[in-house]
């Protein structure tokens, strides 16, 4: 059964492409608005870190002082996070810098909470699909970004 002016398969393809184009332009426009000139733009919203519940904030990283975990965290960061946050966490159009004080002074538990829950309405997906130990390994790497660049 075809419609008068367009075959439904092509209509579906058109709709899919239109959605991709619309989504892309909306994301880019949103990124420009949030971050017009610099990846370290202070307008990025770090409020989500402060929303971490007390219990989450007080959680301790089980891999503290584990150098292997730091290296593993670097590997995981590169695979999962660097695409948006930059290879050194410097921030890009799509996502804020992770070197800033708001992140570096947050407790490991708060960062773990943000990583687990994402900031979905502002573009960061939930990362609970990574097992808990891997999220802690990433947190360990995040905290190291403030003191050095890369291990």
């Amino acid at each position: 059964m075809t419609t008068g002016f367009m075959h439904p398969r092509f209509a579906m393809l058109g709709l899919f492409i239109a959605t991709c184009v619309f989504g892309s332009s909306a994301q880019l426009a949103s990124a420009r608005q949030d971050n017009p000139s610099s990846a370290n733009n202070p307008n990025w919203n770090y409020e989500e870190i402060k929303k971490a519940p007390e219990k989450a904030r007080l959680m301790r990283n089980p891999f503290e002082n584990d150098s292997d975990a730091l290296r593993a965290g670097g590997k995981l960061f590169e695979r999962n996070c660097a695409g948006c946050h930059g290879m050194k966490g410097e921030g890009r159009k799509k996502a804020p810098s992770l070197i800033r004080d708001e992140v570096q002074q947050a407790t490991p538990g708060a960062l773990f909470w943000v990583l687990t829950n994402g900031v979905v309405w502002h573009g960061m997906p939930v990362w609970s699909k990574l097992p808990e130990p891997q999220r802690w390994q990433i947190v360990m790497f995040l905290k190291s970004l403030g003191v050095s660049t890369r291990p």
């Binding site: 899919f16 989504g23 892309s24 994301q27 590997k75 695979r79 799509k94 829950n117 808990e132």
Partner: protein, 316 residues
Amino acid sequence: MAGRRPVFSSALFGAFLKRIGIQSLKQVCSVTSLICFSLIFCPRSFAQESPYIITYDHYLEEPGSLEVEYFSTFGTQRAGNDFLAFWVEFEYGVKAWWTTELYLDGQTTFGDSTVFTGARWENRFRLLQREHFVNPVLYIEYERKNGADKILKEVEGKDVESDFAESNATLRQEHVNELECKLLLSKTYKGWNFAVNPLAAKNLSNNPWEFGYAAGASRPLALKASPNRCAFCPENFIAGAEIYGGLGDRYHLGLHDTSQYIAPAAAWNLPSGWTLRISPGFGLNGNSHRFLLRWGISREFSGFNEMLGHFFGGRQ
């Protein structure tokens, strides 16, 4: 109109392609396009993909990323010819809470023909902002396919093996416009993912609502990542199992006259960004195909939105 016969049927290379599940020129083109696309535009992105082929968990595509996937299903058929169904998926993360997906389906029935069987447009919407005890995602799909569709991406209503016993030429005469809704419920706990997907589907002609389900559980072989880059690290492998089947329609709800399957599944997430999946499935009753072998290959392209933006003349 009769479909095209499988190519490569006599050549040695053809035999090799057949052995690995590639039966037709259309499939060769699909796989070649996928490889070329990845080689040309390859911002590497590692994807921690689940091994599920039928069941969905609550994780959506990262915003701005495009995942291209190719899947095959080999199925045995009593009172008919075995078949190899295949589909290509283009999965795009519009937002962190919205993923859209386009499917193109086809199949080869051995000793019969190869046919294009339809297209689907799927959208998944995350309903809650944060992680909860159970995480719901709303799934809405429109399918435009013909009766020869054999990808068995979902089993619903009273879908049974004997539906596929006719020739492709006959099956193609039936046209299906279907709306399908699922509620994807999923939870990850201590590395285990548990997902349950009840579904309701309505053929937009005058057919009753049909119901079905899929459920799965999976876990990576290791929860802690190793410090070294490696293809064979246990954390790159995820193993699990799925169970799925029909639940009748609004007039005859239940398992009577439905088909049911169980399928172990495994995924291998390679550091290069590719994911390989394999899942042998087994029919659980006389209405089901005895054996289904599914396999798939996928690759995620991060930053696809920026590429698209540049293509349409956006600023860097």
